[in-house]
């Protein structure tokens, strides 16, 4: 048995409405969409025009500065609309799906050279699933990553259970791992939950077991505890579910954009798993649940997901769709607010007595629960941040745009998602993930020339 790394800092926020372990077929979504915003740091350059017929795997757009990185269609059909927002930024590229998916084929990969693998991945659009750290952007095909990291489990609240989703796809997962092993001269690390048996027969990887609360399933935390990223180093990460998708597609020589999505949250009538395709509409998965008044649909988990609505689409990398109540009402201070007894209010601080109730599940809404303030309370971020990094000092260095300090304080090792819990627990309601995102953008600009 591999060694177990114990993560002590963090918190599991138990929410009402976890997905029952049952997979149903979702409605076939008539429209599928690609949203360039899902891909950090790229500028889309369209490769097809509105009205064009595309197949699953047909390149739709590429990254302006890396034209070899192609973003391909998850379905076949007609490209019906390019929805643009302010300043003509492309928000959604909508494809009207055929009844039966037709596939564009690319050279299947069955263990050839690294070059042929990279060529296949790029041509099929599968490359997009490979991300790099630092910065959390799509990997550069010219880089030689030091190692590749995959987290085999997700600890975020209501998040999809990865081993459950991978159940039927173990062979595909193994071939995906084999492909990743070809990409690095270093190792492929797989973070597994301690006591896990699901990944027992997966080979060609270095397994490291983790125990402890969220964010122990975050790949960033795992990298930090296995081999922290130093300045100048590049490592790659792939979501475990996408490893199987890559494995399956590479074997078939087709971009098979299947997804099993956990539909969860207190506003979901029957929380469970649904089989669908990347870019499917929210309504096709959630039905009327997402259209209720005063609810928020989130593509992804409640900590890092993207705010959606019934008319929008499942994010490219997401395997969770959460629906929780909106908190858009005022809370009277004595009954629901800051002076209330608060047995149903969630706090890690013990400032409300709810922690005495132990393992209960909370029905949390999206209210900020307070107003933005200057940093006053210290020591609270550290309780949920399992990195050997000083979170508050790093955040302040970002706020004053001190590139040198950011680098010294370890910004290369983190992504906004690693700060999600910090943002949740912050007494002063500071938008911490946005701050980290800005910091990473500043760093990237500083070094991209």
């Amino acid at each position: 048995m591999a060694k177990v790394i114990k993560i002590k800092k963090g918190v599991d926020i138990k929410l009402v409405g976890p997905a029952e372990k049952k997979v149903s077929q979702a409605q076939r979504s008539s429209i599928h969409a690609l949203m360039p915003d899902d891909f950090t740091g790229i500028v889309p350059k369209m490769l097809v025009k509105e009205g064009a017929e595309v197949m699953a795997g047909t390149p739709i757009f590429c990254d302006k500065s890396h034209p070899e990185i192609l973003f391909t269609s998850p379905v076949s059909g007609e490209m019906v609309e390019i929805k643009r927002g302010p300043k003509r930024v492309i928000e959604e590229i909508k494809i009207l799906a055929d009844k039966e998916t037709k596939y564009e084929s690319f050279p299947a990969w069955n263990g050839g050279s690294r070059e042929s693998l990279i060529a296949s991945l790029l041509q099929s659009g599968l490359w997009v699933f490979i991300q790099q750290r630092p910065y959390g952007i799509i990997a550069n095909p010219k880089d030689q990553p030091k190692n590749i990291f995959v987290s085999g489990f997700d600890t975020a609240p209501l998040a999809a259970d990865i081993p459950f989703i991978l159940q039927g796809d173990k062979a595909a997962f193994q071939s995906g791992i084999d492909a990743l092993a070809k990409l690095t001269a270093g190792k492929v690390y797989l973070g597994i939950p301690s006591g896990d048996t699901f990944y027992n027969d997966i080979k060609n990887v270095e397994k490291v077991a983790f125990s402890g609360p969220h964010p122990s399933g975050n790949v960033g935390v795992q990298i930090h505890h296995i081999q922290p990223i130093n300045k100048g180093e590049v490592v790659w990460t792939v979501n475990a579910i996408d490893v199987a998708l890559i494995g399956k597609s590479l074997k078939a020589g087709q971009f098979i954009a299947e997804r099993i999505v956990a539909l969860a949250g207190s506003k979901v009538s029957t929380p469970q798993y649904y089989r669908t395709l990347i870019g499917a509409s929210i309504t096709s998965i959630a039905g009327t649940d997402a259209a209720q008044p005063n609810v928020r649909a989130i593509s992804g988990n409640v900590l890092t997901g993207t705010q959606s609505n019934p008319e929008s689409y499942l994010g490219f990398y997401n395997s969770t769709l959460s629906i929780i109540p909106e908190g858009n009402h005022k809370k009277f201070f004595l009954t629901e607010g800051w002076l209330a007894p608060g047995f149903s209010r969630f706090s890690i601080s013990h400032a409300y007595p709810s922690w005495l109730l132990g393992n209960k599940r909370y029905d949390l809404d999206t209210n900020l629960n307070g107003e933005k303030r200057a940093f006053v309370v210290t020591g609270e971020l550290e309780r949920v941040f399992p990195f050997d990094i000083y979170p508050m000092q790093l955040l302040k260095s970002i706020m004053v745009n001190d590139i040198d300090a950011m680098e010294k304080l370890g910004i290369y090792e983190v992504l906004p998602e690693d700060f999600a819990l910090c943002e949740v627990v912050c007494t002063s309601k500071i938008e911490i993930q946005s701050v980290v995102k800005k910091g990473l953008e500043d760093m990237r600009k500083e070094f991209s020339h």
């Binding site: 400032a351 307070g370 210290t378 007494t427």
Partner: protein, 399 residues
């Protein structure tokens, strides 16, 4: 609730841009957000948020101060009647205490919040909750007979100079309440120290042998045997250690009862509002310094009797415990890193006893110790963070 919400909604337009009282929006905002947690929802980042906010945090600190406040009110009356040798009921003592203490609280809050409101109106900032705690701390660290106008001046000085000029709540370097006290301490020393300020003896003659001294001045004069003298002075309690632990001694209003302060510390630690690192290390630091003095005092400095006061007794006298629990733990002015907090707390305890014992001009050292360490806290943090940075650089070199 709905009715209140409706009234607030109705008068709201007057305070918004273009309204009659648009300048006073921060005041309206403070009132509204006091009564209702606003309907603001998350827009970016995490979609759910912890229920804690600064109002809850500050409220918990005030809750923790209540035992010390209540005992302080009672003790003010108790000391008064004891000094005069008059018999009085519990109710009499509390009423006398209220008569002395309530005006101080009202002046402190009135002036402090007034300055804060004016600043926020001028600056257009939201009104922060920080002063809710400072406003309660200020009266509790004053002698009960301090003139009200002095409290007003000191509070205004502290809020302006210690806080607002640095940018308001969360930006100050020095503890606001202690700044108010240190201002009075140096500007009006006769009203802040000595024998005359701790107990009100108006309307009668004091009993024989009454001095009005605090335990601290007894200790300066009598060293280890001060307990015997003190026992005579505070005849009601046979044991001066117990007297000062329970709080039946003269002193600033909130500082006398170590027990009441420890109840408050319990609340702060149980709810996780205050740092256990600072409190624990502060007490350890004080004990360590007391012990060192106990050991070396008689050998090297036989003249300074203060050195011989037992270390455990040092911890329950004066404002030591109050300072460690309620003022050293102010997160804004304390060290911000976990390791830094250990050092910060320890040094405060150490310095407090050192100043108290070594420098006879300052009968109590906790105020100076905390203010000094407020200034040093960023330096402590700097070295803690520097260690982390060096670790990272080293990793880079060996990689």
């Amino acid at each position: 609730m709905k009715a209140v919400e409706n009234i607030l909604d109705k008068i709201r337009p007057n305070f918004e841009k273009g309204g009659k009282f648009e300048k006073f929006y921060p005041v309206y905002d403070a009132l509204e957000t006091f009564a209702f947690v606003p309907d603001h929802t998350t827009h970016s980042g995490a979609h759910i948020r912890d229920a804690i906010d600064l109002k809850r945090t500050m409220f918990l600190v005030i809750l923790a101060l209540v035992p010390a406040l209540l005992f302080g009110i009672y003790n003010t009356g108790y000391q008064h009647y004891l000094a005069l040798g008059e018999a009085a009921s519990f109710i009499d003592m509390v009423l006398f205490g209220l008569w002395k203490v309530l005006p101080l609280i009202i002046v402190s809050y009135g002036v402090g919040l007034g300055v804060e409101f004016i600043f926020c109106i001028i600056k257009g900032h939201a009104i922060n909750e920080g002063f809710l705690v400072s406003g309660m701390l200020i009266p509790l660290i004053m002698p009960m007979d301090v003139p009200l106008w002095m409290v007003a001046v000191a509070t205004a000085f502290a809020v302006l100079i210690a806080k607002e000029v640095f940018g308001g709540t969360g930006m100050n370097i020095l503890n606001v309440a202690l700044t108010a006290r240190v201002f009075l301490f140096f500007a009006y020393p006769t009203k802040m120290s000595g024998n005359k300020v701790w107990v009100n003896t108006d309307g009668g003659t004091t009993v024989d042998g009454y001095t009005g001294e605090t335990l601290l001045s007894q200790a300066i004069e009598n060293g280890a045997s001060f307990a015997n003298t003190a026992n005579v002075a505070y005849g009601s309690m046979a044991d001066s250690f117990m007297a000062s632990f329970l709080g039946f001694i003269p002193g600033s209003i909130g500082e006398t009862s170590t027990l009441a302060i420890l109840v408050g510390a319990g609340i702060l630690l149980w709810t996780g509002v205050a740092s256990w690192r600072i409190i624990l290390m502060g007490i350890l630091g004080g004990a360590a310094m007391g012990l060192i003095f106990n050991l070396i005092g008689p050998m090297y400095f036989p003249d300074n009797l203060y050195l011989t006061v037992p270390w455990w007794h040092q911890l329950v006298m004066g404002g030591f415990m109050f300072g460690i629990v309620f003022m050293a733990t102010d997160p804004v002015t304390a060290a911000q890193t976990d390791a830094g907090k250990l050092w910060y707390g320890f040094l405060i305890g150490l310095l407090a006893i050192m100043i108290r014992v070594v420098n006879p001009a300052y009968p109590e050292g906790i105020m100076m110790a905390i203010l000094f360490m407020n200034v040093m806290a960023p330096t402590i943090d700097h070295y803690v963070v520097e260690t982390n940075i060096n670790k990272r650089l080293k990793r880079l070199k060996t990689a």
